[in-house]
Protein backbone atom coordinates (compact mmCIF):
# COMPACT_ATOMS: atom_id res chain seq x y z
CA UNK A 1 0.00 0.00 0.00
CA UNK A 2 1.40 3.41 -0.86
CA UNK A 3 1.12 6.05 1.84
CA UNK A 4 2.03 9.42 0.39
CA UNK A 5 3.22 11.08 3.59
CA UNK A 6 4.78 14.53 3.38
CA UNK A 7 8.56 14.13 3.92
CA UNK A 8 8.76 17.64 5.43
CA UNK A 9 6.29 16.67 8.14
CA UNK A 10 8.09 13.37 8.66
CA UNK A 11 11.29 15.33 9.23
CA UNK A 12 9.55 17.69 11.70
CA UNK A 13 8.19 14.78 13.71
CA UNK A 14 11.67 13.26 13.83
CA UNK A 15 13.15 16.56 15.06
CA UNK A 16 10.47 16.87 17.73
CA UNK A 17 11.62 13.64 19.42
CA UNK A 18 13.00 14.63 22.81
CA UNK A 19 15.57 12.82 24.91
CA UNK A 20 13.80 12.51 28.26
CA UNK A 21 15.04 11.80 31.78
CA UNK A 22 14.65 8.06 31.79
CA UNK A 23 15.94 7.36 35.30
CA UNK A 24 13.23 9.39 37.08
CA UNK A 25 10.50 7.85 34.95
CA UNK A 26 11.82 4.30 35.44
CA UNK A 27 12.12 4.91 39.20
CA UNK A 28 8.49 6.05 39.31
CA UNK A 29 7.37 2.84 37.57
CA UNK A 30 9.46 0.65 39.90
CA UNK A 31 7.97 2.44 42.92
CA UNK A 32 4.46 1.85 41.59
CA UNK A 33 5.24 -1.85 41.05
CA UNK A 34 6.59 -2.13 44.61
CA UNK A 35 3.55 -0.32 45.99
CA UNK A 36 1.27 -2.66 44.06
CA UNK A 37 3.16 -5.70 45.38
CA UNK A 38 2.97 -4.45 48.96
CA UNK A 39 -0.76 -3.84 48.57
CA UNK A 40 -1.29 -7.34 47.12
CA UNK A 41 0.73 -8.87 49.96
CA UNK A 42 -1.29 -6.94 52.53
CA UNK A 43 -4.55 -8.07 50.90
CA UNK A 44 -3.41 -11.72 50.97
CA UNK A 45 -2.32 -11.41 54.60
CA UNK A 46 -5.71 -9.99 55.59
CA UNK A 47 -7.43 -12.74 53.57
CA UNK A 48 -5.33 -15.44 55.28
CA UNK A 49 -5.96 -13.94 58.72
CA UNK A 50 -9.71 -13.80 58.13
CA UNK A 51 -9.57 -17.39 56.84
CA UNK A 52 -7.80 -18.59 59.99
CA UNK A 53 -10.26 -16.70 62.20
CA UNK A 54 -13.26 -18.18 60.36
CA UNK A 55 -11.76 -21.66 60.67
CA UNK A 56 -11.12 -21.12 64.37
CA UNK A 57 -14.68 -19.92 64.93
CA UNK A 58 -16.19 -22.75 62.92
CA UNK A 59 -13.90 -25.47 64.27
CA UNK A 60 -16.17 -26.42 67.19
CA UNK A 61 -19.48 -26.68 65.26
CA UNK A 62 -17.72 -28.48 62.39
CA UNK A 63 -16.18 -31.08 64.72
CA UNK A 64 -19.50 -31.52 66.53
CA UNK A 65 -21.27 -32.08 63.20
CA UNK A 66 -18.59 -34.56 62.13
CA UNK A 67 -18.89 -36.45 65.41
CA UNK A 68 -22.69 -36.61 65.05
CA UNK A 69 -22.35 -37.81 61.46
CA UNK A 70 -19.86 -40.50 62.53
CA UNK A 71 -22.36 -41.76 65.07
CA UNK A 72 -25.34 -41.52 62.73
CA UNK A 73 -23.92 -43.00 59.51
CA UNK A 74 -23.61 -46.68 60.68
CA UNK A 75 -27.16 -46.73 62.14
CA UNK A 76 -29.32 -49.39 60.43
CA UNK A 77 -32.37 -48.25 58.49
CA UNK A 78 -34.33 -51.45 59.09
CA UNK A 79 -33.95 -53.52 62.22
CA UNK A 80 -33.04 -57.07 61.17
CA UNK A 81 -32.92 -59.62 63.91
CA UNK A 82 -31.24 -62.51 62.06
CA UNK A 83 -27.52 -62.11 62.69
CA UNK A 84 -26.09 -63.36 59.35
CA UNK A 85 -28.69 -61.46 57.30
CA UNK A 86 -28.04 -58.27 59.25
CA UNK A 87 -24.33 -58.62 58.51
CA UNK A 88 -24.94 -59.41 54.84
CA UNK A 89 -27.16 -56.39 54.30
CA UNK A 90 -25.21 -53.99 56.50
CA UNK A 91 -23.44 -52.26 53.54
CA UNK A 92 -26.81 -51.14 52.16
CA UNK A 93 -28.89 -51.10 55.30
CA UNK A 94 -27.45 -47.94 56.85
CA UNK A 95 -27.85 -44.17 56.89
CA UNK A 96 -24.45 -43.96 55.10
CA UNK A 97 -25.70 -46.17 52.23
CA UNK A 98 -28.93 -44.16 51.95
CA UNK A 99 -26.96 -40.92 51.94
CA UNK A 100 -24.57 -42.23 49.26
CA UNK A 101 -27.48 -43.42 47.11
CA UNK A 102 -29.25 -40.10 47.56
CA UNK A 103 -26.10 -38.19 46.58
CA UNK A 104 -25.63 -40.40 43.52
CA UNK A 105 -29.26 -39.86 42.49
CA UNK A 106 -28.97 -36.09 42.84
CA UNK A 107 -25.70 -36.13 40.87
CA UNK A 108 -27.32 -38.07 37.98
CA UNK A 109 -30.37 -35.84 38.02
CA UNK A 110 -28.27 -32.69 37.87
CA UNK A 111 -26.20 -34.16 35.00
CA UNK A 112 -29.35 -35.06 33.09
CA UNK A 113 -30.85 -31.61 33.61
CA UNK A 114 -27.69 -29.65 32.78
CA UNK A 115 -26.00 -32.04 30.37
Amino acid sequence: MSNDYDPRLQSLFAKAQEALDRDAFTRAIVERIDRQRRRAMLAWSVFALVGVMVLALLAHPVFTALAMATELLPVSLVDIETGWLRQLLSPINSVAAATALGALGIHRLVRRLLG
Binding site: Y5, L9, Q10, F13, E18, A19, D23, F25, I33
Partner: protein, 187 residues
Protein backbone atom coordinates in the same frame (compact mmCIF):
# COMPACT_ATOMS: atom_id res chain seq x y z
CA UNK B 1 16.54 -14.38 41.14
CA UNK B 2 18.47 -11.09 40.93
CA UNK B 3 20.63 -10.20 37.94
CA UNK B 4 23.17 -7.38 37.87
CA UNK B 5 22.14 -4.11 36.23
CA UNK B 6 25.06 -4.49 33.78
CA UNK B 7 23.94 -7.92 32.68
CA UNK B 8 20.36 -6.74 32.19
CA UNK B 9 21.55 -3.66 30.28
CA UNK B 10 23.39 -5.95 27.83
CA UNK B 11 20.55 -8.45 27.45
CA UNK B 12 18.42 -8.43 24.30
CA UNK B 13 14.83 -7.36 24.77
CA UNK B 14 13.21 -10.80 24.26
CA UNK B 15 15.33 -12.13 27.13
CA UNK B 16 14.20 -9.25 29.34
CA UNK B 17 10.59 -9.87 28.34
CA UNK B 18 11.00 -13.54 29.24
CA UNK B 19 12.37 -12.60 32.67
CA UNK B 20 9.67 -9.98 33.23
CA UNK B 21 7.07 -12.64 32.47
CA UNK B 22 8.37 -14.61 35.46
CA UNK B 23 7.86 -11.54 37.67
CA UNK B 24 11.41 -10.15 37.52
CA UNK B 25 10.96 -6.48 38.34
CA UNK B 26 14.54 -5.48 37.48
CA UNK B 27 14.20 -6.92 33.97
CA UNK B 28 10.98 -4.99 33.51
CA UNK B 29 12.66 -1.80 34.77
CA UNK B 30 15.31 -2.26 32.08
CA UNK B 31 12.58 -2.60 29.44
CA UNK B 32 10.99 0.62 30.76
CA UNK B 33 14.39 2.35 30.61
CA UNK B 34 14.75 1.37 26.95
CA UNK B 35 11.20 2.03 25.79
CA UNK B 36 10.06 5.02 27.83
CA UNK B 37 11.34 7.74 25.46
CA UNK B 38 9.39 6.23 22.58
CA UNK B 39 6.11 5.84 24.49
CA UNK B 40 6.38 9.23 26.23
CA UNK B 41 7.07 11.04 22.94
CA UNK B 42 4.16 9.23 21.32
CA UNK B 43 1.89 10.31 24.18
CA UNK B 44 3.23 13.90 24.05
CA UNK B 45 2.33 14.15 20.37
CA UNK B 46 -1.13 12.79 21.15
CA UNK B 47 -2.01 15.00 24.10
CA UNK B 48 0.39 17.97 24.02
CA UNK B 49 0.61 18.14 27.81
CA UNK B 50 3.83 16.57 29.06
CA UNK B 51 2.51 15.84 32.56
CA UNK B 52 -0.58 14.11 31.23
CA UNK B 53 1.57 12.29 28.66
CA UNK B 54 3.84 10.94 31.41
CA UNK B 55 0.87 9.92 33.51
CA UNK B 56 -0.63 8.00 30.58
CA UNK B 57 2.77 6.49 29.77
CA UNK B 58 3.00 5.22 33.35
CA UNK B 59 -0.45 3.67 32.94
CA UNK B 60 0.78 1.94 29.78
CA UNK B 61 3.82 0.45 31.50
CA UNK B 62 1.84 -0.57 34.58
CA UNK B 63 -0.68 -2.35 32.37
CA UNK B 64 2.19 -3.97 30.50
CA UNK B 65 3.62 -5.20 33.83
CA UNK B 66 0.24 -6.64 34.90
CA UNK B 67 -0.45 -8.40 31.60
CA UNK B 68 3.01 -9.32 30.30
CA UNK B 69 2.30 -13.02 30.99
CA UNK B 70 -0.33 -12.88 28.26
CA UNK B 71 2.32 -11.96 25.70
CA UNK B 72 3.35 -15.31 24.25
CA UNK B 73 5.84 -14.09 21.65
CA UNK B 74 8.57 -12.01 23.31
CA UNK B 75 9.72 -10.78 19.88
CA UNK B 76 6.37 -8.97 19.49
CA UNK B 77 6.82 -6.83 22.58
CA UNK B 78 7.14 -3.48 20.73
CA UNK B 79 3.91 -3.73 18.70
CA UNK B 80 2.15 -5.13 21.77
CA UNK B 81 3.25 -2.12 23.81
CA UNK B 82 2.32 0.30 21.04
CA UNK B 83 -1.17 -1.19 20.84
CA UNK B 84 -1.48 -0.77 24.60
CA UNK B 85 -0.40 2.87 24.34
CA UNK B 86 -2.94 3.59 21.60
CA UNK B 87 -5.71 1.88 23.58
CA UNK B 88 -4.77 3.82 26.71
CA UNK B 89 -5.02 7.07 24.77
CA UNK B 90 -8.36 6.10 23.17
CA UNK B 91 -9.77 5.06 26.56
CA UNK B 92 -8.59 8.31 28.09
CA UNK B 93 -10.40 10.30 25.42
CA UNK B 94 -13.56 8.21 25.75
CA UNK B 95 -13.61 8.48 29.55
CA UNK B 96 -13.52 12.26 29.38
CA UNK B 97 -11.79 12.39 32.79
CA UNK B 98 -10.78 15.67 34.43
CA UNK B 99 -7.39 15.61 32.72
CA UNK B 100 -9.09 15.52 29.33
CA UNK B 101 -8.85 19.27 28.87
CA UNK B 102 -5.26 19.42 30.01
CA UNK B 103 -4.36 20.59 26.47
CA UNK B 104 -5.60 24.05 27.38
CA UNK B 105 -4.01 24.08 30.84
CA UNK B 106 -0.70 22.82 29.59
CA UNK B 107 0.06 25.99 27.70
CA UNK B 108 0.57 27.97 30.90
CA UNK B 109 2.46 25.29 32.70
CA UNK B 110 6.14 25.85 32.08
CA UNK B 111 7.08 22.48 33.56
CA UNK B 112 4.85 20.78 31.00
CA UNK B 113 6.33 22.60 28.02
CA UNK B 114 8.60 20.63 25.72
CA UNK B 115 12.21 21.85 25.84
CA UNK B 116 12.47 21.58 22.08
CA UNK B 117 10.99 24.48 19.99
CA UNK B 118 10.07 22.23 17.10
CA UNK B 119 8.20 19.96 19.52
CA UNK B 120 6.42 22.96 21.02
CA UNK B 121 5.27 24.27 17.63
CA UNK B 122 4.39 20.83 16.37
CA UNK B 123 2.35 20.06 19.48
CA UNK B 124 0.56 23.41 19.19
CA UNK B 125 -0.33 22.65 15.56
CA UNK B 126 -1.41 19.10 16.47
CA UNK B 127 -3.70 20.41 19.20
CA UNK B 128 -5.72 22.21 16.53
CA UNK B 129 -6.70 18.90 14.97
CA UNK B 130 -9.69 16.85 16.07
CA UNK B 131 -8.77 13.93 18.36
CA UNK B 132 -9.16 11.16 15.78
CA UNK B 133 -7.38 13.16 13.07
CA UNK B 134 -4.51 13.90 15.46
CA UNK B 135 -4.18 10.24 16.41
CA UNK B 136 -4.03 9.16 12.75
CA UNK B 137 -1.47 11.86 11.97
CA UNK B 138 0.71 10.93 14.95
CA UNK B 139 0.61 7.23 14.07
CA UNK B 140 1.42 7.99 10.44
CA UNK B 141 4.22 10.51 10.93
CA UNK B 142 5.55 9.77 14.40
CA UNK B 143 5.30 6.00 14.18
CA UNK B 144 5.64 5.58 10.43
CA UNK B 145 2.62 3.30 10.34
CA UNK B 146 0.80 2.56 7.08
CA UNK B 147 -2.92 3.24 6.63
CA UNK B 148 -3.65 -0.47 6.99
CA UNK B 149 -1.65 -0.71 10.23
CA UNK B 150 -3.44 2.33 11.67
CA UNK B 151 -6.77 0.75 10.72
CA UNK B 152 -5.75 -2.47 12.47
CA UNK B 153 -4.56 -0.71 15.62
CA UNK B 154 -7.36 1.84 16.00
CA UNK B 155 -10.32 0.04 14.46
CA UNK B 156 -11.11 3.09 12.30
CA UNK B 157 -12.27 2.39 8.70
CA UNK B 158 -9.51 2.67 6.08
CA UNK B 159 -11.31 5.40 4.15
CA UNK B 160 -11.69 7.50 7.30
CA UNK B 161 -7.98 7.13 8.05
CA UNK B 162 -6.97 8.24 4.56
CA UNK B 163 -9.23 11.25 4.78
CA UNK B 164 -8.01 12.12 8.33
CA UNK B 165 -4.39 11.95 7.24
CA UNK B 166 -4.98 13.99 4.08
CA UNK B 167 -6.88 16.74 5.92
CA UNK B 168 -4.57 16.64 8.94
CA UNK B 169 -1.47 16.91 6.77
CA UNK B 170 -2.91 19.91 4.93
CA UNK B 171 -3.73 21.62 8.21
CA UNK B 172 -0.27 20.95 9.64
CA UNK B 173 1.39 22.20 6.45
CA UNK B 174 -0.58 25.43 6.85
CA UNK B 175 0.07 25.83 10.58
CA UNK B 176 3.76 24.99 10.25
CA UNK B 177 4.28 26.95 7.04
CA UNK B 178 7.47 28.58 8.38
CA UNK B 179 9.12 25.17 8.85
CA UNK B 180 7.81 23.98 5.49
CA UNK B 181 9.39 26.97 3.71
CA UNK B 182 12.69 26.60 5.58
CA UNK B 183 12.91 23.02 4.51
CA UNK B 184 11.73 23.88 1.01
CA UNK B 185 14.53 26.44 0.57
CA UNK B 186 17.09 24.22 2.27
CA UNK B 187 16.51 21.37 -0.18
Amino acid sequence: MRYSADLLAKSPEPVLVGLARTGNRDAFAEIVRRRQTWIRNLMRRCCRDATLADDLSQQVFMQAWRTIRQLHDAERFAPWLKRMAINTWLQHKRRGDPLRNADEHGENDSAARPANDVALDLDRALSMLADDVRLCIVLAYNEGMTHAEIAEFTGFPLGTIKSHIRRGSQRLQKELAAYMEQRGTAT
